[in-house]
Symmetry: C2
Subunit: 346 residues, 2 copies
């Protein structure tokens, strides 16, 4: 391993309820194959596994998902698993990972439930971001927008840096009109939740902007217990933390936020419509996973774990059959799937 190695920090906290019924509490979104044969988690680990570039990953997850992680981790990664005693959003999770790394190590924070088509594009962006991180920039990898999406936060690019830009400002999820304005204006990127930090720099910024959280994380880590490749922070200390996102806790407050633009076929696969966009359809735009027949149907996604799905006359619809659940949703309705009874029941 090079001393310049980038340590992937894979966050496994998402519930993925909008991908119910495939995504369930017992096997949430990162741990099910959604695009191709690989799970998104496994793809996230393998994407950042070139030993010329990357060091051993740190995986942050809840205890209930550790068996899935152990089953899906490739051999020989040297991964450490930080077992979160409670879900406290991304800032404490990332800070815990920073606490188990050398302060001078560069960490690359990666959600485990996103899809990236172009792994080489990802690695190139990661290297540029790591270079800035070594100089104590807190670096977001910004996704080059390919449409006026209203489901993502935006980053406005500021003064140029080597390989990137300073962040002029972070913008909350905009409405359609604003999003169209950003695209017309140019100089904006989507915030995909991928970040590069020097571990010590991240902890120092956290101590400045969220001192109580930083202190609690430090204590939880100091009193933690190592068990093989697993690290268990002290549960009682961690439980008292007020959860917050890394964006709110650090990125929007630091004076050293930077952004590196990347075009790498990224999708957060935030719902069934987003998954449909990440998959290629046939001539009529239909895509089937499992047995299916389409008649007079266009742009239909049919996913089944067994039963045959027959679709007649529909357009722009997703049909998902999983165990004892059948979901039929319009692309527009896909945002509401997480609010059905099923996801709450697990």
């Amino acid at each position: 391993m090079s001393t310049n190695a980038i340590h992937p920090v894979i966050l496994c906290g998402g519930s993925g309820t909008r991908l119910w019924p495939r995504s369930r509490r017992s096997a949430p979104k990162p741990f099910i194959p959604l695009v191709g044969e690989r799970t998104l988690f496994r793809a996230a680990v393998e994407r950042a596994s070139d030993p010329q570039v990357f060091g051993a990953p740190v995986i942050v997850a809840g205890a209930q998902h550790v068996p899935l992680i152990e089953a899906q981790l490739p051999d020989g990664t040297g991964a450490r698993i930080v077992v979160e005693p409670a879900a406290k959003n991304t800032a404490p999770a990332i800070a815990l990972a920073a606490a188990v790394l050398d302060p001078d190590a560069v960490m690359l924070v990666c959600p485990s439930d996103h899809y990236i088509a172009d792994d080489a594009g990802f690695v190139a962006a990661a290297r540029k971001a790591a270079k800035l991180a070594k100089d104590d920039w807190l670096v977001a990898i910004g996704i080059a927008p390919d449409g006026p999406e209203t489901g993502y936060g935006y980053i406005k690019l500021g003064e140029p840096l080597e390989g990137g830009h300073k962040v002029a400002r972070f913008v909350e999820k905009p409405d359609l009109e604003r999003a169209q304005g950003f695209l017309a204006e140019g100089g904006y990127a989507w915030n995909g939740g991928i970040f590069a930090f020097r571990a010590g720099a991240l902890l120092a910024e956290l101590a400045q902007h969220r001192p109580a959280m930083a202190e609690a994380v430090r204590n939880a880590a100091a009193k933690g217990v190592t068990e093989g490749e697993k690290f268990h922070p002290a549960a009682d200390v961690f439980a008292g933390i007020e959860g917050d996102s890394i964006d709110y806790a650090v990125m929007e407050n630091t004076g050293r936020a930077a952004v590196v633009e990347a075009s790498m076929g990224w999708s957060d696969i935030g719902n069934w419509a987003a998954l449909q966009d990440a998959l290629s359809g046939d001539d009529a735009g239909n895509h089937a996973v499992g047995p299916a027949e389409f008649k007079d149907a266009r742009r239909v996604l049919a996913i089944s774990d067994g039963p045959r799905i027959s679709v007649v006359g529909l357009e722009d619809v997703c049909v998902v059959v999983d165990g004892n659940e059948v979901l039929v949703t319009t692309r527009e309705g896909a945002q509401l799937v997480g609010k059905l009874k099923g996801p709450a029941e697990g």
Copy 2:
């Protein structure tokens, strides 16, 4: 039993492929509960069971459906089952039933796979039709049309008779413009496939217009074998019959065709959209049989034999889950369901 008894002749030949996957070869449309708890077959028998009006029914069906019929027949009907050696359309089936009845018996031909909401309206129409049939009219019970349906044949009413009219002419399934014209003009009824004949009169008309068929039916019946309540016409003779509908073979050729109008909440439940029309929905027009949840959905029919169906954002759609098959169709597409691979596979 009154000597004036009307003998129901229940035809069980339909395959109901457009109601796949609930309707299968092994348990086709008449023998599955579609509206409420009763099967359409059982409802057809019970609708014509008042001993003040009706005599013992004659049921005509293929051998493969006899076990279903025996299981679903109410006790004490005195029914005879004519087991068709081959499917030859309605004219031979009806003629076989006529052959096992007294020539002076009035027979009331009823499809087993239609839905009738108003049984009293049905009985009233049957009595009027039987009265005309005794005078050797060949009587169609015409359904008072409640819309410009293009899926049914129409009957134009001619000169008045007691309780009905002569048939001016039969009209094949019209296009929408013609159907709208019929409704605007008035004096038309749908041909619902319900007929009253004196058995001897029907056989005499058949002998005149389809002499070969009449002769073959006579021979098949003469050489037939009785086995309990079942009657097996001679298979070799029956196999040689050229199949035809009672409409083509007799009704469109006879000079004694009559029609009795009936308004009785009739539907042929020809496809999932027609079933949806026969069922009442909730405030949003949604109707569920089995577990279902609707969100931002309107006029959706969800039918499941077990799994929960969750529908988001859709309008005017039918979702049917049955065993290893899931069907999702628009109301318009419902006509095409019979052309899917599933129905052909059984």
